[in-house]
């Protein structure tokens, strides 16, 4: 882990079949979700949260185990702190230069939720991981994506589904080289008043990374839970107590507000008891909620047209403690949800000693927070200033945190049947129980094999995916129907993870590539006589043509090299390809040889290619006159020479150099043979082999 992880095999990362999943946070814990996915040389980070129960750098995921500059893509599932709380730090204070995506609603709410968090954190400025300025500056680096919109970055295809849970929460499906992975973030398969249930993707993933917050628990029915909640609130205000509901300004608070507003509407006796929604950002937050109605369920969308349900009749905004007159029973919803600091903590500390009061914990509480602590019913609590106070107020836990429970998770997995399931975002024991239950569910199933993993922080899960490589033949190569065993040849074009085979001429039709030719020119200093060069080239090959180009002596050698004689040099030109290059080399060598051989330059004798016929005839005549006497040899006609010896005559055809006898006397062929031999010998002597 200290050095960069180099693959032991010599396979480059892009071709390797190894897929790595490593949680840097939320591995066997809840908080600081941050999961690294590595495949085919691509690195993706899923979520970047902080741990709400820890402070300072301790709250960060173990980012030191990766190099932020190598991360290509960062996907944020939703706006809860434990999924995006470290994003401003990651974007502004590390070397990360990849792209970040989240849904529109998530981005809008992220801005204000984290702003609220920065304000209410009571740690000193030194300890703060980032400031409001960092948060503002990070906004430009974040890109948005719509639900079901497919985007592609660096060869990674991804899109998202509704996850329920909170407004804008998404489950991301990622596809690299045909391998699909679904990251659920936090999700719920139960619809509530304003959010839809998580969708079941139509595409089945090979790997599922899922939350396991509630492990093997089963939630109580929605109606029962709502009834219990309303009854508890009613009881508390009936006994003249104050009811505190700590929640973050945005998220489940809106669901609770809808529930309370409806309950108050139905109970006129409660109309005098105020409900406060306390957050300095309340107005801004509600405006955001009203904007992103498209991310909510159909019921609410229809209701918005008639009568905006988010305009509450019985709930008022409370900006701070100063605006609050604490007389008589009331219901206050204040942030933060786990009471680490801020208004909910202040109110808690001022109300906890009175047994008429009550606090309702309405969401999941992380280890190490006050909310989690009071669920164990301690005798006393420690205030922010260190003072100890007895805990007399009632504490109820009614979870509206909209996480999946065992029934929903197993139904989800049954619908998708992913071969690999990775559990994150759950306490160690809960997660272990869930893993065991899932394994048990499929252990007798012969058709479906599901491997369940629950890695600890920084521990990697390595999976192997052998992909099939498919190359599509396109263009003119695809014109004819092909048969098994037929050879196809063309150019293999690879774009990200798709392969095509094309004929070179089709390249410009289907790609940005084009065929081009390269023309080469070579100038060689040459001061010798050009005819000498010509003759030497003719020694090299018969394929030498003389052509005329603008008054300069030009040759065309091998039908591809153009040789131009210029002032003191020779210019070679040809279209580059392996064969022509070789010819050019040969011609260049000849030129250089002629140039460097001073003796050859002086010799200017051009050789006669053909023997002059007249000369040959005269010589022939002379030869036979010498052999047989002058009176025996005579020209019969232009092409025929007659040689008469002892009454026999041989006719020599000068063109073909064949000899025939007058009498077709087969007995005495000796004259004919002798004459023929003599003619051949003379001809060869005069016309030497080249």
């Amino acid at each position: 882990m200290a050095t960069k992880r180099k693959a032991d095999v010599s396979v480059p990362a892009e071709e390797s079949d190894q897929l790595l999943i490593r949680p840097l946070g939320a591995g066997q814990e809840v908080g600081r979700s941050c999961i690294i996915l590595e495949f085919k040389g691509r690195k993706i980070m899923l979520d970047c949260g902080i741990h709400p129960g820890l402070e300072g750098m301790d709250a960060l995921p173990y980012i030191d185990l990766i190099d932020p500059a190598e991360i290509d893509l960062l996907l944020i599932s939703h706006f809860h702190l434990d999924h995006c709380g470290a994003l401003p730090w990651f974007l502004q204070k590390t070397s990360f230069k990849g792209r970040t995506f989240m849904t529109h609603a998530t981005k809008a709410i992220y801005r204000w939720l984290l702003s609220d968090y920065v304000k209410v954190s009571n740690i000193s400025a030194d300890d703060m991981l980032y400031t409001e300025t960092d948060l503002e500056e990070s906004m430009d680096k974040i890109e948005t994506i719509n639900f079901h919109e497919v985007k592609e970055v660096a060869g990674i295809k991804f899109w998202c589904y509704h996850a329920g849970h909170v407004l804008g929460a998404a489950m991301f499906m990622i596809e690299i080289a045909g391998v699909k992975l679904l990251y659920t973030g936090d999700f719920s398969r139960q619809e509530d008043r304003h959010l839809m249930a998580a969708e079941i993707p139509s595409v089945k993933p090979d790997i599922l990374i899922t939350e396991s917050t509630y492990g093997t628990h089963i939630h109580e029915k929605r109606e029962e839970r709502e009834a219990r909640f309303c009854n508890t609130v009613h009881d508390i205000v009936n006994r003249e107590g104050r009811c505190l509901i700590p929640v973050f300004a945005l998220g489940r608070a809106q669901e609770l507000l809808l529930i309370l507003d409806e309950y108050w509407q139905n109970h006129p006796e409660l109309h005098d008891i105020p409900i406060y929604y306390a957050s300095s950002l309340a107005k801004k937050c509600m405006a955001v909620y009203q904007t992103y109605v498209n991310a909510m369920n159909d019921k609410i969308r229809k209701a918005i047209n008639i009568n905006n349900p988010f305009v509450f009749k019985h709930i008022s905004n409370l900006k701070s403690m100063d605006h609050f007159d604490d007389i008589g029973p009331s219901v206050v919803m204040a942030s933060p949800g786990m009471m680490q600091s801020g208004l909910s903590r202040e109110l808690f500390e001022s109300w906890c000693t009175d047994k008429r009061n009550g606090v309702i914990i309405a969401g999941y509480c992380v280890e190490g927070t006050l909310a989690k602590h009071i669920m164990s019913e301690p005798e006393e609590i420690t205030t922010m200033s260190g003072q100890k106070l007895p805990l007399k107020m009632s504490v109820d836990y009614i979870s509206f945190s909209a996480h999946t429970d065992y029934q929903q998770t197993s139904e989800f997995i049954r619908a998708l049947k992913p071969p690999h399931v990775i559990l994150v975002h759950g306490e160690q024991n809960e997660m272990a129980r869930l893993k065991a239950a899932l394994i048990r569910e499929y252990e007798d199933n012969d058709e479906v094999h599901i491997e369940v993993h629950n890695p600890r922080n920084t521990e990697a899960v390595t999976l192997n995916f052998r992909g099939e490589k498919l190359a599509k033949v396109m263009g003119s190569l695809a014109d004819k129907k092909c048969m098994q065993g037929q050879r196809v040849s063309g150019i293999l074009v690879k774009k990200n993870f798709s392969y095509h085979i094309l004929a070179p001429s089709d390249l410009s039709n289907y790609t940005d590539l084009a065929m081009s030719t390269v023309k080469q020119t070579q100038a060689i200093p040459f001061t010798g006589p050009f005819p000498l060069l010509l003759s030497q080239l003719r020694h090299l090959t018969g394929d030498v043509e003389e052509i005329e180009i603008s008054e300069k002596s030009t040759l065309r050698v091998f039908n591809s090299i153009t040789v131009v004689h210029d002032q003191n040099m020779v210019l070679l030109e040809w279209f580059a390809n392996p064969l022509n290059d070789m010819y050019a080399d040969a011609v260049t060598t000849v030129v250089l040889e002629v140039q460097s051989n001073p003796k050859a330059q002086k010799v200017l004798q051009p050789q006669e290619k053909k023997v002059d016929v007249n000369v040959f005839q005269n010589r022939l005549l002379k030869m036979f006159q010498d052999m047989f006497g002058e009176e025996c040899v005579d020209f019969k006609d232009k092409n025929c020479l007659a040689v008469s010896v002892d009454g026999k005559t041989a006719f020599i055809n000068l063109e073909t150099r064949t000899v025939e006898c007058e009498d077709d006397n087969s007995e005495d062929d000796s004259l004919r043979e002798m004459v023929e031999l003599a003619v051949q010998r003379l001809y060869e002597a005069m016309n030497p082999v080249m």
Binding site: M1, A2, T3, K4, G27, Q28, E29, H51, G53, L54, E55, G56, M57, D58, L60, Y62, I63, D64, L65, I66, D67, P68, K93, T94, S95, D127, Y214, G215, T216, H217, I218, H219, E220, E224, R228, T232, I361, E367, G368, K372, H373, I374, M375, S376, E377, S394, V395, D396, Y397, S399, Y406, Q407, E427, Q428, E430, R433, A437, R456, N457, T458
Partner: protein, 108 residues
């Protein structure tokens, strides 16, 4: 004043730790860095900035003016969750039984 320059692998900036004497041991350096950065629940891996070699021996000496790269890793031996508050939860049952109760108790 002799010093060691350190940088967390994920961060961009260097910081300096001052110390007395000629060298500082790896153990002391870790403690000082954890104190300075207010880290309580993790462990540190220290490597040399030049050649990326890790200082595995806690008693090894780091000379003056060295630059090192720090990696935060989960604490060995400690559970990854914070145990600041005591948890008395009865074991919830798994399977289909419901866990409904008015008063507080464990994780529902």
């Amino acid at each position: 004043m002799p010093c060691v320059h350190y940088k967390f692998r994920s961060k961009l900036s260097h910081d300096t730790i001052l110390f007395e004497g000629v060298h500082i041991t790896v153990r002391e350096l870790k403690q000082q860095i954890m104190r300075r950065e207010r880290l309580k629940l993790c462990d540190l891996k220290i490597s040399s900035e030049q050649n990326n070699e890790e200082y595995t021996d806690d008693e090894a000496l780091i000379p003056n003016n060295t630059s090192v790269v720090i990696r935060r890793i989960p604490a060995v031996g400690l559970k990854s969750t914070n145990k600041r508050f005591v948890n008395n939860r009865p074991e919830p049952s798994c399977g289909s039984s419901q866990t409904v109760c008015r008063k507080v108790f464990a994780l529902v």
